[in-house]
């Protein structure tokens, strides 16, 4: 078949530096993006010690894959925004280590995917670039293991609106107008969402982490948090490289409800141009003013 000829394995040298995954692809058959997610999985399989979890079989035969899913770091490949593979992983209570969304990746690389289900040359190249990126990433992340110094507790100022109390830490934090914060120490920023997000979403049940090792622009998407009410896109206050994600909130997202500034942090980012980012960040006074206005005008936490 033509498809197999096009997707020949990558060069050998890639193989050596590769990490192996348990791969859960969406395998969607109604869009090109779904076909691509499947091909990425196949290519990774051919170039590393990875194993594939068949999403269709997994639905009806848990036991078959539970061992693989536990032994290897889980890579989830979603085709489109419906995120079937991610949802399946959440449903089965799996811990996602790596994640990629084909449609988003295509957007980021300025690639328009075919509207048919056929894989053309453009798609083939795209598949190879995704696979390459996935296979070399853990290596890079490991080399630069850095840790942030982050206090356990902060002092807060509060704004009250009937029974709701909104907390904002007084010192050391920067904010953006999208209700996300950054706490900077050295060349690393710890990032999270503010109390306003937490109160409005109410009980947070899901956290979709961003990819460790990837670069992020200021105002780029740092994963999402989701409650029964809505999905909130974490809007990064800073630009840089994602060096860590809070694993605790993957298992217990309600930590964000408990305290979004302490144990409910989202990710650590190695800063690339903080001086420039700062231009579009708010200090406590500025954010507190905006928060008060938002709470007064738009208070959805109610009832």
């Amino acid at each position: 078949m033509k498809r197999l000829l096009i997707l020949k394995p990558l060069e050998r040298k890639l193989k050596k530096m590769s990490e192996s995954y348990a791969i859960l692809p969406c395998n969607g058959l109604d869009k090109c993006a779904g076909c691509i997610s499947r091909e990425v999985a196949v290519l990774l399989l051919e170039n590393s010690e990875s194993e594939i979890i068949c999403p269709v079989l997994y639905r009806i035969a848990d036991a078959r894959y539970s061992k693989i899913a536990q032994e290897k770091p889980l890579l989830v490949i979603d085709g489109c925004a419906t995120r079937c593979a991610s949802k399946l992983a959440a449903e089965k209570g799996l811990k996602v280590v790596q994640k990629i969304n084909v449609t988003e990746a295509a957007k980021n690389q300025n690639i328009t995917l075919s509207s048919t289900l056929k894989i053309g040359d453009k798609e083939t190249q795209f598949i190879q670039s995704i696979a390459k990126e996935l296979l070399k990433e853990p290596e890079q992340a490991k080399n630069k293991k850095q840790e942030i110094i982050f206090p356990e507790h902060f002092d807060y100022t509060t704004y009250k609106k009937d029974k709701f109390i909104f907390k904002v830490p007084k010192q050391g934090f920067y904010f953006n107008e999208n209700d996300c914060w950054a706490y900077v120490s050295g060349n690393i920023a710890r990032v999270g969402v503010t109390d306003f997000v937490q109160q409005n979403l109410s009980d947070i049940m899901f956290f979709t982490p961003p990819t460790v090792g990837s670069d992020i622009e200021q105002f780029g998407e740092l994963g999402t948090v989701e409650s029964g009410k809505a999905v909130f896109e974490v809007v990064s206050p800073v630009s840089g490289k994602i060096i860590a994600v809070n694993d605790d909130i993957s298992a217990t997202p309600e930590l964000i409800n408990k305290n979004p500034y302490e144990n409910g942090w989202i990710a650590d980012i190695e800063l690339t141009d903080f001086e420039n980012d700062k231009e579009l960040l708010l200090d406590f006074d500025e954010y507190f003013t905006i928060l008060k206005r938002k709470v007064d005008e738009f208070h959805v936490g109610k009832n």
């Binding site: 009937d162 029974k163 709701f164 109390i165 007064d296 005008e297 109610k302 009832n303």
Partner: protein, 141 residues
Amino acid sequence: MADDKLTIGIVSCSGENCLGGTISRLATRKVLEEKENETVTICLPLYLAGGEEERNFAKEYPTIAVDGCSKCCAKRATEKYSGKISTSIDLSKIIGKKTATSESLSTKMINDSHKEMIESVANEIRKKIDEILKIPNPNSN
């Protein structure tokens, strides 16, 4: 904007053991939903398990307790843990003691006669809200 507008808390016993609890819960929810801007839900068990949000509320804002039976748990719990109740409603006085203490119901089983009870209790809550809104906040100092 609506900064200094008076918000009224409504706390219902929501009792699991008797019909009064079922009716108090549904009547309270009904009023909370229609008077979204004037009222706020007070979740009773949060007095013990929650933070200062619920505990301080009745100290600072007018609060109405809606109780399913004459044990008046909502009223007593609020006064014990939070603050003085502005006014309270005892369902046994509206729907009768016997009905109030009969078996609790799933929302699946609510029939027209229950709906009437809910409506008459809701009316009582509405009246209390109107009474409070006409007088200045008694807890303001």
